[in-house]
């Protein structure tokens, strides 16, 4: 095994181009587990810890450009207003020690269906900024990034530079089912974001299909129901039948398996419950904000 230690992003891309089988390591919270357990013996480890750019973020007008290695702790501390869904998801990641090391770039690189960041990214809307020495930078829409169980749209010579996430324009929520509060891998997870500007709702489901997925049929149903009832304008409580239909469609978007953490039918059920709850939470928050701006009690 060789340990490659590029000092800059350009050097890292050059190293990845020269050694396409090199395994990038940043926080190490996935890669080192595989090495410790002898599940993986990569020919090259490509250390990204010395590349300061990857630890920085920029808040733009519409998006946050989040460096691939920004640890979850920093997201929780600094980006709660801009990225509320991702900040909530970050808080559910493992433990303080892991959140101090791990970041969204690693979650995307590993592309496990159980990665905690994915539902929040899908719900908020995001593009993954990847780069190669030969072809420069390209942006991959988050919906096209996950291609299979632990597979993603990266080419062998590409590295993840950042993820460009839509800044929240409305309430966002994140919910995760596990056997305990800390140190738990999701049995299933759900992210929901209201986008009042476009009058749309977006979702993200984790750990309940081969890849993280959006519940698109549920989103379309809810968008239509909210528009039809004038809900965005009148700020009424979402009727229970609409919430139930939305929850059922979210359950139907799952394609889960039975495993040690839970059964497929439990996951489907739990995703429906989380969908209904996160919709209620975010909608109540939207209504509250509406009332506050209109000055009506």
């Amino acid at each position: 095994m060789d340990f490659l230690r590029p000092a800059s992003w350009e050097e890292a891309l050059a190293a990845k181009a020269e050694h396409p089988t090199a395994v990038p390591i940043a926080g190490g919270t996935d890669v080192m587990v595989e090495i410790n357990f002898d599940h993986r013996r990569p020919e090259y480890l490509l250390d990204l810890n010395r590349i300061g750019d990857l630890y920085e973020w920029e808040v733009g007008e519409d998006t946050v450009r989040l460096g691939a290695s920004v640890p979850y702790t920093k997201i929780m501390e600094n980006l709660r207003a801009e990225l509320p869904g991702l900040a909530l998801a970050s808080h559910t990641v493992a433990s303080p020690q892991i959140r101090n090391r791990g970041g969204v770039g690693g979650n995307l690189g590993t592309a496990s269906p159980a990665g905690d960041a994915h539902p929040a990214l899908l719900a908020a809307g995001a593009e993954v900024e990847v780069a190669s020495a030969a072809r420069g930078t390209r942006l991959i829409p988050i919906d096209e990034f996950y291609t299979g169980v632990k597979r993603n749209a990266l080419q062998p010579d590409e590295l993840i530079r950042a993820v460009r996430i839509q800044k929240a324009d409305g309430p966002q929520q994140y919910s995760k089912v596990g056997t305990r509060n800390a140190m738990v891998i999701a049995v299933c997870a759900f992210g929901l974001a209201l986008h009042p500007r476009t009058r749309t709702v977006r979702t993200g489901i984790g750990s309940a299909a081969p890849t993280p997925v959006r519940a698109k049929a549920a989103e379309e149903f809810l968008n239509a129901a909210l528009a039809e009832g004038g809900f965005w304008d009148n700020g009424k409580i979402i009727t229970p039948s609409v919430a139930k239909q939305f929850a059922d469609l979210c359950s139907a978007a799952c394609n889960p398996i039975d495993d040690v953490r839970g059964t497929a039918s439990y996951r489907r059920h739990a995703v429906g419950v989380m969908a209904r709850r996160t919709l209620t939470w975010t909608w109540e928050s939207y209504r509250g904000a509406r009332r506050a701006t209109e000055g009506a009690a």
């Binding site: 080192m32 410790n36 020690q97 101090n100």
Partner: protein, 193 residues
């Protein structure tokens, strides 16, 4: 490969390090510092917690090559580290814990009645006084994590303590005595004892 880094305030060099080796392995097997414990090797238990450039991390998940040029504090250096912090830095320029001192470090503690014994960090003394140690395997990781929290947050609520220690598993105590110990350390710290 060779790795140069700072351990407990002193420069150290580890030779013949395998590229896939963890920081934990380097500390225990190459530098002879077995205070950081090796249990799950997957970041679940927190027994191997150390400070890396001040930040608590699981040393089993840090590749040895990643610590080149960086600073690590282990439980063996915690007493000295806490002392320097209390004194506002290193006045003499010769602080830190040498490898030999670290290897022979023992948690003798001071007798609660007489106050005699070797120096411990406040959190270590509190663990002894509160009876927060049973088998002791999780203790080093908990000490490092608890000490870091008290540095950041001198007056933690119970929820703060639980959150800060949520990455450290203890299978003996049921955590109540550990909570007592951290509350005790916080109270002593705020009283300036």
């Amino acid at each position: 490969m060779r790795v140069n880094f700072t351990v407990n305030g002193r420069p150290q060099e580890a030779d013949d390090v395998w590229e896939g080796e963890s920081l934990l392995y380097v500390l225990r097997e190459r530098l002879g510092l077995p205070g950081s414990k090796n249990a799950c090797e997957q970041g679940e238990c927190g027994s191997c917690t150390v400070r890396l450039d001040g930040v608590p991390v699981c040393s089993c998940l840090v590749a040895a090559g990643q610590v080149e040029g960086r600073e690590v504090v282990t439980v063996e250096g915690l007493a000295e580290y806490a002392k320097q912090r209390a004194e506002g830095g290193c006045a003499t320029g010769a602080c830190g814990t040498s490898l030999d001192e670290a290897k022979s470090w023992q948690a003798k503690g001071s007798d609660s009645q007489t106050g005699e014994g070797t120096e411990l960090s406040p959190v270590q003394q509190a663990f002894i006084d509160a009876g927060a140690v049973q088998c002791g395997f999780c203790t080093p990781g908990l000490l490092v994590a608890a000490d870091e929290m008290l540095e950041r947050n001198p007056n933690p609520t119970d929820a703060d303590i639980r959150e800060a220690l949520s990455g450290n598993l203890c299978r003996c105590t049921g955590y109540e005595k550990i909570m007592d110990a951290v509350r005790l350390a916080a109270a002593r710290q705020s009283e300036g004892v």
